[in-house]
């Protein structure tokens, strides 16, 4: 296992060499056509990126040179200078020198001396003539090496395609395994088992190729926190842990905005100003922690602040004001249930709209993003001590643990991420309260609904439940979403299985009740239920 520094350095090297190649190409174009604006813009951009990357990695010499080069390209771009005369050889030398420096970093050698080059660049900026030495350039040309990077950059699209193909392969693998067992030919069984092992390994290799360190996202936050804290006049110290935790790149992509939102929220609303903190007897500097850790197959990402915490009573009041819950019901809800209202659409606790956060898009957007991944969003908070948001994310998008069950002779799957428990109950375990069937599971009253009725009842509200509906033993899957538990009556439990979820194809993707489909080993199509949508459907239709 490589250390993170080493991995970062390899990535820096690959990227820097790529910049160098591109810059060499563009500067040649510019020589042919000194007014070639796209080439000039690209040069400027690459220099700028190289500068930032080098400084971030601590290669300040490269950063400094790139900064000087960038300045000159900027001057050329703004037409204050032109790419003619003595400017040309100096810039060529500059790019060649950058190449040498990058290679020296890669080979762990001392960086070349750049004093004279820097002087020349400074002279150019001041409008003076540079001091050129012809023979040195020839020397350099003779020593020029051609190198290929050890890293391959690959478009995520290609990896996505590979992942989809592997998904298909896994489905076919299950099919072949099932068939081979049915046919019972020993040679076929052996071949199918071998195929299965290779397919598994291929799947893990492709999944592994898509994994990136959470640090690649976390590393953007020191700057965000600094800027937001400055704008909000807060003093915030950011701590980050678990940057090495690996997660699918696309998952990281999808949660980027969510994490940004949570961090801005934490600084804008969660944390107090230094004066407020001192008044409350807390240290003036507030703490924000971004952490990642693995828990079984999931990745937990937490945004933790030591700010004022969530005032459950004001959330309760606001939920009633907004008509999300009746006042008498609200009074009976426990703190977790009340905090769940924070994730309702349009529910913002911000008293005033600030520059940074609270523009009306709230935690519901974060919640939806996490839901779309089949993940969970949790919040814990102690008034006066701080708030912790936890994102529970799958490591990989492609494979999910699921519970398979039957309804009307059809197979359905429900992701384990949202499955709380599975129970089989006799009719005397049920009560009807307000037209809703209720049962007690683990000391808690849980509403129960027939999945058949929920799915096939047309558009109207559900008819009130009556005790007579419940005949015989009931197989119930208890699902949990946003702290609400709901029991779904199904015909028969089948088994637990890892499934490859394919997104619902258009035009059926508008039906949000289904997170996708999967193909079973038998080749049968199996719908994958989306628990968040199912829960919303129940809430909208309950009698």
């Amino acid at each position: 296992m490589k250390s993170r520094e080493q991995e970062y350095r390899e990535m820096f090297m690959a990227e820097a060499l790529e910049y160098y190649d591109a810059m060499s190409r563009h500067i040649s174009e510019l020589e042919r056509n000194p007014t070639d604006e796209p080439a000039l813009n690209e040069l400027f951009r690459f220099m700028h990126n190289l500068k930032s990357n080098s400084r971030a990695m601590g290669y300040n010499a490269i950063g400094e040179l790139a900064h000087h080069m960038e300045t000159i390209f900027g001057l050329i771009r703004s037409k204050e200078k032109s790419f003619t005369g003595s400017v040309v050889p100096v810039l060529f030398t500059g790019i060649d020198t950058i190449g040498e420096m990058i290679r020296a970093v890669g080979a762990n050698e001392d960086l070349p001396e750049v004093g004279r080059l820097m002087d020349n660049l400074d002279r150019l900026v001041r409008g003076e003539e540079p001091v050129l030495e012809q023979e040195e350039e020839d020397d350099e040309d003779a020593n020029r090496k051609l190198e290929l990077s050890d890293l391959v950059y690959i478009q995520i699209r290609k990896l996505d395609h590979l992942m989809n193909l592997v998904g298909e392969l896994i489905i076919d693998r299950d099919r072949v395994l099932t068939l081979s067992q049915e046919i019972g030919n020993p040679a076929l069984v052996a071949a199918a088992t071998h195929l299965s092992r290779i397919a598994d390994e291929l799947q893990y290799s492709v999944m592994d190729a898509r994994l990136v360190g959470v640090g690649s996202l976390f590393s953007k936050f020191p700057r965000v926190v600094r800027d937001v804290a400055a704008a909000e006049k807060k003093d915030v110290e950011l701590t980050m842990t678990g940057e090495d935790i690996q997660i699918d790149r696309n998952i990281l992509q999808i949660i980027t905005d969510s994490l940004l939102h949570l961090v801005r929220n934490a600084i804008g609303h969660g944390l107090e100003t230094p004066a407020e903190r001192e008044a409350a007897g807390k240290p003036a500097q507030s703490h924000l922690t971004l952490s990642a850790q693995t828990e079984r197959d999931d990745v937990l990402i937490q945004v933790q602040d030591d700010g004022r915490g969530i005032n459950v009573e004001s959330v309760r009041r606001k939920a009633v004001e907004r008509g999300l819950v009746a006042a008498n019901v609200a009074a009976t809800l426990d703190d977790d249930a009340v905090r769940a209202f924070l994730f309702e659409p349009g529910f913002s606790m911000a008293k005033e709209v600030t520059e940074i956060s609270g523009r009306g898009v709230g935690l519901d957007v974060v919640k939806l993003a996490i839901d779309s991944l089949g993940g969970q969003l949790r919040v814990e908070s102690v008034l006066g001590q701080g708030t912790t948001f936890t994102l529970v994310l799958p490591t990989s998008i492609a494979v999910k643990g699921a519970l398979l069950f039957q309804l009307d002779q059809r197979n359905y799957a429900i992701p384990l991420m949202h499955t709380d428990s599975v129970v089989s109950l006799m009719p005397d375990n049920f009560n009807v309260v307000g037209g809703v069937l209720i049962t007690r599971v683990q000391e808690e009253n849980v509403p129960v609904v027939s999945l058949r009725k929920l799915l096939h009842n047309g558009d109207g509200p559900l008819p009130p439940a009556v005790k007579a509906d419940v005949q015989g033993r009931q197989d119930i899957i208890i699902v949990k979403y946003n702290n609400r538990r709901l029991g779904l009556v199904v015909d028969r439990f089948l088994r637990q299985q890892d499934i490859v979820v394919k997104p619902m194809s258009k035009p059926l993707d508008t039906i949000d009740l289904f997170g996708g489909v999967t193909l079973l080993g038998s080749g049968q199509v199996c719908l994958v239920l989306d628990v968040p949508a199912l829960t919303r459907l129940f809430l909208a239709k309950r009698p």
């Binding site: 298909e168 489905i171 004001e321 907004r322 008509g323 999300l324 309702e344 659409p345 349009g346 519901d364 059809r410 799915l455 096939h456 558009d459 394919k502 619902m504 194809s505 258009k506 035009p507 059926l508 508008t510 039906i511 949000d512 009740l513 289904f514 489909v517 193909l519 080749g523 049968q524 199509v525 199996c526 719908l527 949508a533 919303r536 459907l537 809430l539 909208a540 239709k541």
Partner: protein
């Protein structure tokens, strides 16, 4: 598109795939048909209009299967879909969709010029005339040529209201 082609080109031969819905024959341009197969096992999909029969696995692609006889109410009483039916996989703009038909669809080559604009009576049989490219008379047969791309837009298939009713959040009043 078809209109502009007509005015520019002389009289090209076009190939149709012809199939029966109810008592009439309908045609689709062959380039819109990806393949024809025996209808695979269909998984019924809740919360879809009745003519959307469900989804099926077509060589690893999960596609929606629709029944146009039901969609346009062309089914004569007592003429249920036979146990073995056929499915034409049609390539619409962004997706592939299956259309269930009772008999094996047949190819047919005709001259473009014999496709005439649809007369008004067509509207009596519930097919909105915007789906109809025209009507071809071939000896004593009449083939209604459909423009599948118009027929198979997502809003047409799902008969969509802007947002599905399953999201409870939509019905809540927002402050």
């Amino acid at each position: 598109m078809p209109d502009s082609e007509k005015s520019v080109k002389q009289d090209p031969i076009i190939q149709l795939i012809v199939f029966r819905l109810g008592e009439e024959e309908y045609g689709i341009r062959i380039e819109q048909v990806k393949e024809v197969t025996i209808t695979p096992e269909i998984a019924r999909m809740p919360k879809t209009p009745p003519f959307v029969k469900g989804i099926a696995n077509l060589r690893g692609d999960i596609i929606a299967i629709i029944d146009l006889e039901e969609r346009f109410r062309l089914r004569t009483a007592g003429q249920e879909m036979p146990a073995v039916s056929y499915t034409m996989a049609i390539e619409a703009k962004e997706y592939t969709i299956g259309i269930m038909v009772r008999e094996v669809p047949q190819p047919l080559s005709i001259q473009q010029s014999i496709i005439e604009k649809a007369p008004e009576f067509i509207q009596d049989i519930n097919i909105h005339d915007k789906y109809i490219e025209g009507i071809a008379k071939i000896e004593d047969r009449i083939v209604v040529v459909l423009d599948m791309l118009k027929l198979l837009t997502p809003s047409e298939i799902m008969q969509l209201q802007p947002k599905t009713e399953s999201s409870g959040s939509g019905s809540r009043t927002k402050a």
